[in-house]
């Protein structure tokens, strides 16, 4: 039998994993392509609304909507990337901030217009509800599912970027665009695909988040801060870093709440500031 605090820690890790799935896409686009995309959570919100619509209006099973939300967010991002973002790859950070904040604003208003400002409820399938006993702990089924997805995403991403031809192309294109072009790599396409991948992951994260944090049009901004925290603490462009940061933030958040609730909301900000002062490039940052 384990004391109850382990259950709480597990919940914290699972919560961290949710933040991980939401933020890892931004780590990829910001770290690899050096593009400040503050509309990242708007893609997550899009994924969430796709899932809610399919489940509540068309009675799709929850799990079947996940790939659709990934694809929808990825497709939407490709359109934006082709039309707008690519023109700003070499612009200043501040222009990128202004553009993407603009899109986040638009997405909030559009979501309010199309889906209303109402909080969107979602019923997950029965096997993901409630909890399962394990050594005296009640582990939430949904959270176990989240941890599983996060692990799969991590493995796929690390393997994909480190060991595949596509991963090599991305890294080459990032290191030296001109040389990559010279080697016959289609840099434009590589960037578009990378961007779509990052946004698709955000869409997936949005779908997974509804059950825990809900969904309404303000989503595009509410979780932006958390996502930025994970990305910066983990280190830009580092998938393993994001994973570690998500665990750290998740665990310190719940442990703090459990042992010292009066610290409350201070804790994760303190952890972030402390980590960055200790390691300015983040836990796994390269620079």
């Amino acid at each position: 039998m384990l004391p109850p605090v382990f259950g709480v820690l597990f919940d914290g890790i699972a919560y961290g994993m949710l933040l991980f799935v939401l933020s890892v896409g931004l780590s990829v686009t910001l770290g690899l392509m050096n593009f400040v995309n503050l509309a990242h959570c708007a893609f997550a919100m899009l994924g969430g609304y796709v899932t809610v619509t399919l489940v509540n209006e068309l009675q799709w099973p929850f799990l079947a909507t996940l790939p659709v939300s990934f694809l929808a967010a990825a497709a939407a991002s490709v359109v934006l990337e082709r039309l707008f973002y690519r023109r700003l790859y070499r612009a200043s950070d501040l222009d990128q901030v202004l553009l993407t904040i603009g899109f986040a604003f638009i997405s909030v208003a559009a979501a309010a217009y199309v889906f209303g400002t109402i909080q969107q409820p979602i019923q997950t399938p029965p096997f993901l509800r409630g909890s399962t006993g394990f050594l005296g702990l009640g582990l939430s089924n949904y959270r176990m599912f989240l941890v599983g997805i996060a692990l799969v995403v991590t493995l796929l991403l690390v393997a994909g970027l480190e060991y595949t031809r596509f991963g090599a192309q991305v890294r080459a294109a990032v290191d030296n665009q001109r040389m990559a072009r010279g080697l016959g790599i289609d840099v434009d396409r590589t960037f578009a695909v990378t961007f779509a991948l990052g946004s698709g992951l955000a869409g997936l994260g949005g779908s997974l988040a509804i059950d825990i944090v809900g969904l309404d049009p303000s989503f595009a901004f509410t979780y932006l801060v958390y996502v930025l925290i994970i990305v910066s603490v983990g280190g830009l462009g580092s998938i393993v870093g994001s994973f570690a940061a998500a665990c750290l933030i998740g665990i310190s958040d719940v442990a703090g709440k459990y042992y010292a609730p009066e610290l409350g909301a201070f804790l994760i900000y303190l952890v972030m500031v402390a980590v960055l002062m200790w390691k300015p490039a983040g836990l796994f940052g390269r620079r």
């Binding site: 919940d11 825990i212 459990y258 409350g264």
Partner: protein
């Protein structure tokens, strides 16, 4: 006559230029005084008796958070207003009613104050209304007092608001009204002797905590522990584990509406606190329609005290819910009923004054007003201008396959307990 809300209209410009000619020396303090005088003149025309301007519409400045995190509260309130105006026409006592909507974007008293000023000065609003959030109402209260404008609070629930201007009336609820009832009921009829409280760490949460603990202890109960949770807090498991460690007989919860009610409900289930065994009492937000839908069976057995639910059994409410659904394709909630009753109060008060819209006449008409609302019988306390209403004790149950709040007890004529 004054130009109608024309912002850059020529007549207005001429007027200003003319005034400038009349007072040749307009500099520094002179200018200040001059413009104050002009302002006072403008204000005076706004306050002219109704007879002199029977054709002028009555303008209601509707100040609320239409965008941002709290957008849905304002949308529902607006729906209530729209429905009332659809059902009762847009003319009262011979005067047309015009709503001017202004967005605060959230709990911004500075913005609310500016909007109230602009509504009074520029748009010639006669009545201020709306206010889903306490800071908005407090920001505008000073303008109501200074310009003597009738102000109808349709939601903001902190007790002190009505004391900030003699022209304020509230038609919604006060948090102590609900939470004290929860404390008293739980310790007496609810049969709980020990309670643990969990509230969000901000103004309304602290108010709810205080009122509940006071009433619970006064009725002989004991508070065995309490925790205050950050307002922006998406994950509750650690707080619930703390509660569980003390193995309490009952738990009182206050969280703001939005995403948190469902989140904390699910967290109870995940930490295996069963509402059927532990009495989980809360205010109505924590078991609102969306939250209960998201929780499903896990919500069964949850207790709450509240003043309105779309399942309230009365002919009037059934008609209201039906009409609301026909119009907006969703159920009304307490914001909607606040907007609906607020408009009803404004209409009835205007009827009483015969279309006179100045603050003194309207507040006199509103004091002591009683009527049947979709939530049941309500009235305005003539002494405090605050709402007096029935508070219902509800439990989440399954009725014909649907999971809803069922009223099974009530306390009638509850006033806010903190007004002196």
């Amino acid at each position: 006559m004054r130009p109608r809300r024309g912002r850059f209209s020529l007549p207005r410009l001429w007027g200003i230029l003319g005034a400038k000619d009349a007072n040749k020396v307009i500099q520094g303090e002179e200018y200040m005084r001059h413009s104050l005088l002009a302002g006072a003149a403008l204000l005076a025309t706004a306050l002219l008796p109704a007879g002199a301007q029977a054709q002028e519409p009555i303008r209601i400045g509707f100040i609320s958070a239409f965008s941002g995190q709290f957008a849905d509260t304002s949308a529902q309130m607006d729906n209530g207003i729209k429905l009332y105006m659809k059902q009762h026409g847009d003319t009262v006592a011979g005067r047309k009613i015009e709503i001017i909507r202004k967005d605060t974007g959230g709990p911004n008293p500075d913005v609310a104050k500016r909007l109230a000023q602009e509504l009074v000065v520029r748009d010639k609003a006669d009545i201020l209304a709306g206010f889903t959030l306490t800071p908005e109402a407090l920001g505008a209260a000073g303008v109501s007092a200074e310009a003597k404008k009738f102000m109808v609070v349709m939601n903001a629930a902190t007790s002190v608001i009505t004391e900030r201007s003699p022209y304020i009336v509230r038609v919604s609820l006060t948090l102590p009204q609900i939470s004290e009832t929860a404390g008293t009921w739980l310790a007496t009829k609810g049969g709980a002797k020990k309670a643990y409280t969990m509230v969000s760490d901000f103004g309304p949460g602290l108010d709810a905590e205080g009122a509940f603990q006071r009433a619970f202890k006064a009725a002989g109960g004991e508070i065995i522990g309490s925790v205050r949770m950050p307002v922006a807090n998406p994950d509750f498991s650690a707080f619930i584990q703390r509660a569980k460690d003390l193995n309490p007989e009952s738990i009182f919860v206050f969280v703001p509406g939005g995403a948190q009610p469902a989140a904390i409900g699910k967290a109870f289930a995940e930490r295996q606190i069963d509402p059927k065994k532990v009495k989980i009492m809360s205010t109505g937000e924590a078991v609102d329609e969306q939250a209960v839908k998201a929780m499903g069976d896990l919500a069964l057995g949850r207790l709450s005290t509240w003043h309105y639910d779309y399942n309230h059994k009365s002919k009037m409410n059934e008609d209201f819910v039906k009409a609301f659904n026909a119009e907006f394709k969703r159920n009304p909630d307490f914001f909607a009923v606040g907007g609906y009753d607020g408009m009803r109060l404004i209409y009835e008060a205007l009827k009483k004054t015969g279309g006179k819209a100045d603050g003194d006449a309207l507040i006199a008409a509103a004091k002591g007003m009683k009527w049947e609302s979709p939530r049941g019988p309500i009235s305005i306390d003539p002494a405090t201008r605050d709402i007096v209403q029935t508070v219902y004790i509800r439990r989440v149950e399954k009725v014909g396959g649907a999971i809803v709040n069922v009223e099974f007890d009530k306390v009638e004529n509850v006033k806010d307990p903190t007004h002196k």
